[in-house]
Symmetry: C3
Subunit: 430 residues, 3 copies
């Protein structure tokens, strides 16, 4: 796969998936998973029946939505789910009634401070219904009676998710999780699934994978709880690092949210990559969490799951509104997020413990390693190579060495390969 093209591909997938009305269950999730399985044929689609007990939770009934609108007395559809699936509160019950504008008002949601945005509202675990609209639309509603029509069903069905296992040389696993339960929004959340899909393609193309990769596409919260309920012991035993992939497609800064532990391999790798990717990346704390790390890092679960994002959920103005669309998410934004996670995985794969083969400094001159590096930056590069060598003691991992000498992993890895070719350094890769 040409990574030069991957940004275009990811953006195309996002465009295709954007119109689908996803929720935590139902046809929207299934269409989305089927679309992704087309790209990742080895992905397995799974389902769990409504009513299944999963730890403290119960898998909810499925929500089927066919049509929803508000018509005025003259039959004009002033709000129509067809136009934008954010118009309907997620899991709205079926409704067919006439209400005066005054009575209707309590079922409407809008944002006075963002008058052109439709807010995103759901009511998964409390029966009810509602419509979301821009504050401008709401202000323009005339007094009078309106016909409210929601053709939906909430009934036992299944919760769907997709699982892709890409085997490696060892049973130790790297875990990627992303979610497919948000309707037409782009950064939160189509960026996660499309970046994860691109990563899965790349991982699949790796010839020497040390780790087995477990990649899941789930509905948020209830999906991760379902998955943990089924795989907890396996995950606790095998997962060495993992990332929750979300909010990773806009062009703004990068962000980091740690695991609960805060110092797992995932945390250290993510911090290293972001530090060398974006000098101004934001560091959040565990207290700022809000996605599936809440389950993956819960007491007794304790998986090493950290999060690399671009603009974090809750923290950007378009969050959870119709403004979070495909003008906010860009090919370049997705590519940046993809690269950050790709580099993170490369570090996890390649984090070797290099050891110098000679005592005292090696004589680089006689091996032509000075000329080899003779560019306009050669002094800096020779110096960096000497610094690298000075820590190749077999007890520092390459990632630790990178932190000690403040250089990015991917540059020192190339230098190490040169040194290995000259017989100066030894390490086991994979």
């Amino acid at each position: 796969m040409k990574t030069g093209k991957i940004s275009t591909k990811m953006y195309k997938w996002a465009e295709d998936l954007f119109p689908i009305c996803r929720s935590i269950t139902g046809d929207g999730v299934r269409s989305t998973l089927n679309y992704l399985k087309n790209i990742l044929p080895d992905m397995v689609l799974k389902e769990v029946p409504s009513g299944t007990k999963v730890f403290d939770w119960v898998v909810p009934d499925e929500w089927i939505i066919r049509q929803a609108y508000i018509e005025d007395a003259s039959g004009n559809r002033v709000i129509d789910f067809q136009n934008n699936n954010l118009h309907l509160v997620g899991y709205s019950e079926p409704v067919d009634l006439w209400l005066d504008l005054d009575e209707l008002d309590e079922f409407l949601h809008s944002l006075p401070e963002q008058p052109s945005a439709i807010p995103y509202v759901t009511s998964y675990y409390k029966r009810g219904w509602g419509f979301c609209l821009t504050h401008d639309q709401r202000s323009s509603l005339k007094k009078g009676v309106y016909h409210i029509y929601i053709d939906s069903e909430i009934k036992p069905g299944v919760l769907n998710y997709g699982e892709l296992i890409v085997p490696g040389k060892t049973d130790e696993e790297v875990f990627l999780s992303t979610y497919v339960c948000h309707p037409s929004m782009a950064n939160n959340e189509l960026s996660g699934p499309v970046v994860t899909t691109a990563l899965a393609l790349w991982i699949n193309s790796l010839e020497n994978r040390k780790y087995t990769y477990r990649i899941i596409f789930i509905p948020e919260t209830i999906g991760s709880i379902v998955y943990l309920n089924e795989h907890l012991e396996h995950l606790k035993k095998n997962v060495v690092a993992g990332f929750n992939v979300t909010c990773i497609g806009d062009d703004r800064c990068y962000s980091f949210l740690p695991s609960r532990n805060g110092n797992t391999l995932s945390d250290r790798v993510a911090l290293h990559v972001l530090k060398h990717t974006d000098l101004n990346f934001k560091i959040y704390t565990w207290l700022d969490r809000g996605s599936d790390e809440r389950q993956y890092c819960a007491p007794g679960v304790d998986l090493p799951v950290a999060t690399i994002m671009r603009s974090k959920y809750n923290e950007y103005p378009e969050y959870h509104t119709s403004l979070d669309d495909l003008s906010l998410v860009t090919p370049r934004g997705l590519e940046g997020g993809y690269q950050a996670l790709k580099k993170s995985i490369e570090i996890i794969e390649d984090n070797i413990y290099p050891k110098i083969n000679v005592l005292c400094e090696p004589q680089l001159g006689k091996r032509g390693l000075y000329p080899l590096l003779s560019t306009k930056h050669s002094d800096k590069q020779v110096r960096t190579m000497m610094n690298l060598i000075s820590y190749c003691d077999g007890s520092h991992s390459l990632l630790e060495i990178c932190e000690l000498i403040a250089e990015p992993f991917w540059e020192l890895m190339i230098m190490l390969e040169t040194l290995k070719k000259h017989g100066l350094v030894s390490y086991e890769k994979n």
Copy 2:
């Protein structure tokens, strides 16, 4: 006991005790201890004879003081111990002689920079005598001869102290020490004894005490040395936390002085309470010490004794002068100090290790825990509850969790009780 009234009680005790001329031995200490025993009937009064060897020290002779004055040639008493017991240097020898003002001068102590303050001076271990007076008084002394009269005795007797043991469920002890050797001064030091007395009443009223409380009222330095000499092995074996109670009655900032170790339970508890009591509290270091922690934390003694104060000795302008009086110490000042120590003890009693009973996040909604919290601060409170739950892993103490999520112990304790009632969290209290 109503804590609403405790400030009034403490201030009344301070008023009653203020006029007594205390020193490290003698009638003043005895009257003070008898007054306190009236409030705390279980307190045991103890005595140790002069001449007893205690580690590197010897219990001094008792000082009896009946009368002391300076008269001018016309028989006017220009300085009289009756007016203020600070006028006489502590442990002054008997004197009856006439001196010219020039000769008298070297026996006088005043503070040019605080001309209306009588300084507090003692000479416990070097025989001598002297008078303290305001610098204004000193300046007004006319040339001429003066009659110096001190009717005192220094002779073998006893050193007195009071000890109150309030038993708990375990033999592990919390240790409180305060001192009763200062004459008419208020913050340093009647605040310590009256706050300690109020704490003793409250501790006595606790129905479920985990710890045994050992509370002593001693003369400073020699008293703590005497007490350690008698109880060192017991204290080292049993004391889990302790506080030296001093300078805890004025209205100004709070202060913290650590144990020598610096990271005992007492230190951590005190820092937590003060951080959530007074954003601008002062943190001193072990090098700023100056009271009985010098003995309690000495090498080989090493008790976990920290100090919570309001204005620290040595650091406020009225310190060790007649200006440290009952206008400086207030009911509100005493109440604040009392509350800080009470909260500290409550944390020590209740510092449990909570453990969540479900894997993944619990579903708070179905238990009505969202509405339960539905005040105007409800979002913040739900968030805090989720943060609390996220650390209930059985390996963090509640105090550690409080530090991790920057919330006060007493608020999270209430939340934990709610969670326990709902069966979500388990812990052993006491």
Copy 3:
């Protein structure tokens, strides 16, 4: 030895040694070592034949230089090695030829930004030749042909070094290394050999040496590699602390360069001494290294070798030019460097674990320890003594105590001796 005179002696040695043309091999090193052996008769002169394999390196052929100049067509010597041995690139091959100025140019080295300085250039491991001159000289060269004459030889010989072992009570060693391979420059590097010589005299004069001292005078890099090749196991087993002595003679700030480990005894001692010697001393990191610590701290070697300097190599304007002369290095500058290393060694010798002999604070008054200290600074001194005592628990070394109470080792050592004399404190010295 009177230390009052040591600065004069060191400066005199530097003056005597300055004119000698040193390189990593040859007569210049030998003359220098012989001069130093005259001062340190127990020093043993050693030699290693050219061609000896030492780890990744080979001992080079010896360089013999007799004469070198550039004459113009009229026979005027425009550049003459006799005038300044920096004029010739180190290890220049024999040459006798006529070149036009245009052709000659590529063999000339000068510094446009320092037009009056002759740069210092060597070519140890690549055959070639060249002349160094001031940029002013270079600019004044007229067009025309020049006669280049270098009467040198490069042929199998030996590498020389000096080794002085000063035995102590134990086999544990303190290691000092300095280098004798730089031609006429003063801070880098005659300051190292002369300060090391002075230290050796002082160490030899110590009556109760705990440690054995191993002091070597070597050519830089290849010399330390040769020495490690011969003594690695012994050094790894015995050396408890060590210093590379270099750039220690000018009057400017002090500098510290850590060992690779960064927290060895040498590092801690050096930081303590410099903190109490020069408030503005500079702290470099391992990444700023550039001398024999590169070998001594290499992976698998790992000796505890730190560096105390005045102006660090590479960091001062005169570095590696003819401006680094005996006007830059001064008697006062050498004395300061000498004292810093002397104090460091004294701390290593005397870093005892004092233990107070009484429980609780001792009564200093009855021992006259208050009056003893009664100077105008007495309060501060009594306070410092009490702080010192408070940490004499047998588990803190004196150096650790010094850091805890922010006082210099040499002052607390004196206080401890007073306390020991009074029977208050015990410790084993040596």
